[in-house]
């Protein structure tokens, strides 16, 4: 009797499995897309912008895709474990959104050749690993124009995390933008040697304000700089997402990232079977970089001039690093009529003229 039951059971099981396989072929399962975030999503910041983009593409693609995310994944061994886990659970496309995920992504990519990976902000690609970045410096340039126009004391303060090319590029771009509006502008930089220590960021911002800076911006993770500026009544410019909540009166604008166009294109490519690994660096033109809504205190003609420059950059008739550009010592770094190549942009280790102090070695 038991034998019969088992046979029956197996037969039913077999039939179900066959049916399931059949239906899977008829109704294609949604594409599984995973996102790995380095910090909590929160209400602002780097990870928040990535998650906003994830929500947008999820809504657009509807039941064709199924997105999941893991937040607060520390760079290093944890990251590898999370990425591997996602890959082994049948995800088709995995976005890893922090610089420190680069090597873990490449490593897991080798273990799962059928899974496609996209890593943000790194420089390595592989057969199944692509790479994407935002041209933040274009947003910095436009924000710098606003800052230069709004400074009365002609001093901008910049709180930097570490003196690496990415941060230096932002500093130079901001300065070049400021010089468009105000040729006499100077800039002071304070390095805090950390991406995230709100108390130190605040001290750095205040020391810049004490030195006469009346527009402050930063390349660190927290909004402590914006808060410090609000408390002292000087203007500030944010980064990553709209930080106006931290400085309702004095925040001018923020240079922000919007990743949905990249996510949309990559997901569509995988759905169409046309995905290939490539390194892409998108900016104002593709809408990946933008400025957040402007403080009403910024005069209309300033906004108009900024918009005009933006249009030229989008059209390709203007570059942020358009010669002639001189370094601090007055040496010509970009000749008249020349621009910097992407490779040169990636390797910046010099300050443009008008920035005070030296880059720590």
């Amino acid at each position: 009797m038991t034998l019969l039951t088992r046979k029956k059971f197996l037969r039913v099981l077999g039939a179900t499995a066959a049916l399931l396989t059949l239906s899977a072929n008829v109704f294609a399962a949604p594409l599984k897309v995973g996102f790995v975030y380095v910090s909590p999503i929160g209400d602002a910041g780097w990870t928040y912008q990535h998650d906003e983009a994830r929500k947008i593409v999820q809504q657009e693609f509807g039941d064709k895709i199924e997105t999941t995310f893991v937040e607060s994944v520390a760079e290093g061994a944890d990251a590898e474990r999370v990425i591997r886990n996602m890959a082994s659970r049948g995800y088709d496309l995995i976005f890893t959104t922090s610089f420190g995920y680069m090597n873990p992504t490449i490593k897991v990519g080798k273990m799962f050749p059928k899974v496609k990976f996209e890593h943000a902000t790194g420089y390595k690609t592989a057969a199944n690993v692509g790479n994407y970045q935002a041209r933040d410096y274009e947003g910095r340039f436009l924000a710098g124009m606003i800052a230069g126009a709004m400074s009365k004391k002609n001093v901008i303060g910049y709180v930097g995390a570490f003196p690496i090319p990415e941060v230096i590029r932002g500093i130079n771009s901001f300065m070049l933008g400021a010089q468009v509006m105000n040729p006499d502008i100077k800039m002071k930089v304070v390095w805090v040697n950390t991406w995230h220590d709100p108390a130190k960021e605040r001290e750095a911002a205040e020391s810049l304000i004490l030195q006469g800076a009346d527009v402050i911006t930063m390349h660190t993770d927290s909004a402590a700089t914006i808060q410090a500026a609000e408390a002292k009544g000087v203007y500030s410019v944010g980064f990553n997402s709209d930080m106006s909540a931290y400085g309702p009166k004095t925040h001018l604008t923020s240079s922000t990232q919007h990743w949905e166009s990249i996510y949309r294109a990559k997901i569509q490519a995988v759905l169409d079977g046309t995905w290939k690994p490539e390194a892409i660096w998108h900016g104002l033109r593709e809408g990946v970089v933008a400025l957040s809504p402007m403080n009403p205190l910024v005069p209309k003609e300033v906004v108009e001039k900024m918009e005009a420059y933006k249009m030229e950059i989008v059209a390709g008739s203007r570059a942020v690093y358009q010669g002639p550009i001189y370094d601090q010592a007055g040496a010509l770094k970009v000749a008249e009529g020349k621009t910097l190549s992407d490779e040169e942009l990636h390797q910046q280790n010099w300050y443009v003229k008008g920035i005070e102090g030296k880059i720590p070695q």
């Binding site: 607060s72 805090v192 040697n193 995230h196 108390a199 960021e201 750095a204 927290s222 005070e356």
Partner: protein
């Protein structure tokens, strides 16, 4: 260098030193009673998260401070139960508390990243605040800094002039003798650990409600560890903790201020300063200790249970 620059450096020094002062006072109290709690960083973070959440939800800074202190006490009780009642290894338990507190605070605060509140404002004390050089540093701070001064004075008096201070020290030096004399060793140790939790929670409140009124993960940024080093640096003496907190605060922001003033000193070198100071002081202390006896409470970190 003008007087304004010195005023500003002193002001920033006192402000930066305040969370260190609060944590170190609490840690010293529990170490004086013989309990080594390495969970300071975790307790600060839980205090900072709960303080911010309460201040945000209750829209009152007072509730925030209260919640921070209570949450600090609650997590310290967890430590006390495991380390004292269950007699586990204090070092391991303390480390676990730091890891736990880091995770718990991140979990609790996840929905509050990016939210804003209006933090404590500076309150200038009339007349005293006008004293040149030190007036701004000591008498033009926010309420929590003044509270830290008051708590420092209270701890100083208790440890030096009161019977309670003697009992705490006796428990930390030799719990067996203290027990034989009829003192409740467990109760004293529990109390000292809870005081430490309250102080760490308060330091958390200072960070998330006054210094930088926001919640962000890992807002303590290692201050719990610096405070623990500070207690050793101060050789468990209250008055030296105050000086040490200011010295460490000064060392940790000097490079920011000097850069702002345009001095070309490597910020990397200056950022090392607090740690260099710690190492130098430890070496000096060990040297003195070998020649002049121990500074640390004798039963520090050793498990104890009442003889049956």
């Amino acid at each position: 260098m003008d007087i304004g620059m010195f005023e500003n450096i002193l002001f920033a020094m006192v402000r930066t030193g305040t969370p260190l002062l609060l944590v170190a006072l609490g840690a010293m109290m529990s170490e004086r009673a013989g309990v080594l709690n390495l969970g300071q960083e975790g307790m600060i973070l839980v205090g900072a998260a709960c303080g911010f959440i309460a201040a945000y939800a209750g829209s009152s800074l007072g509730w925030g401070v209260l919640a921070a202190v209570i949450s600090g006490v609650v997590v310290s009780l967890l430590f006390a139960f495991i380390a004292l009642t269950l007699i586990s290894n204090q070092v391991a338990t303390g480390l676990a508390l730091t890891i736990f507190g880091t995770g718990l605070s991140a979990f609790l605060g996840a929905g509050y990243v990016g939210q804003t509140i209006t933090g404590f404002n500076t309150v200038k004390i009339p007349l005293l605040g006008d004293i040149p050089l030190i007036g701004k540093a000591l008498f033009e701070q926010d309420l929590l800094v003044y509270l830290a001064f008051a708590l420092f004075a209270a701890v100083f008096v208790v440890m030096r002039y009161t019977r309670l201070g003697l009992i705490i020290r006796a428990v930390g030096e030799n719990p067996d003798v203290a027990h034989a004399l009829g003192y409740k060793v467990m109760r004293v140790r529990y109390g000292a650990v809870m005081f430490g939790g309250a102080m760490a929670g308060l330091a958390g409140a200072y960070l998330s409600l006054a210094y930088t009124p926001m919640w962000s993960e890992g807002i303590a940024a290692g201050r719990g560890w610096i405070a623990l080093a500070l207690v050793v640096f101060a050789s468990w003496r209250t008055e030296r903790i105050l000086l040490g907190a200011w010295l460490f605060g000064f060392a940790s922001i000097l490079h920011l201020l000097l850069q702002g003033y345009g001095y070309e000193i490597s910020p990397n070198l200056l950022a090392m300063l607090p740690y260099v100071v710690t190492i130098v002081v430890l070496v000096l202390m060990m040297y003195r200790q070998q020649n002049q006896g121990l500074f640390a409470p004798r039963s520090l970190g050793q498990p104890w249970h009442s003889p049956k």
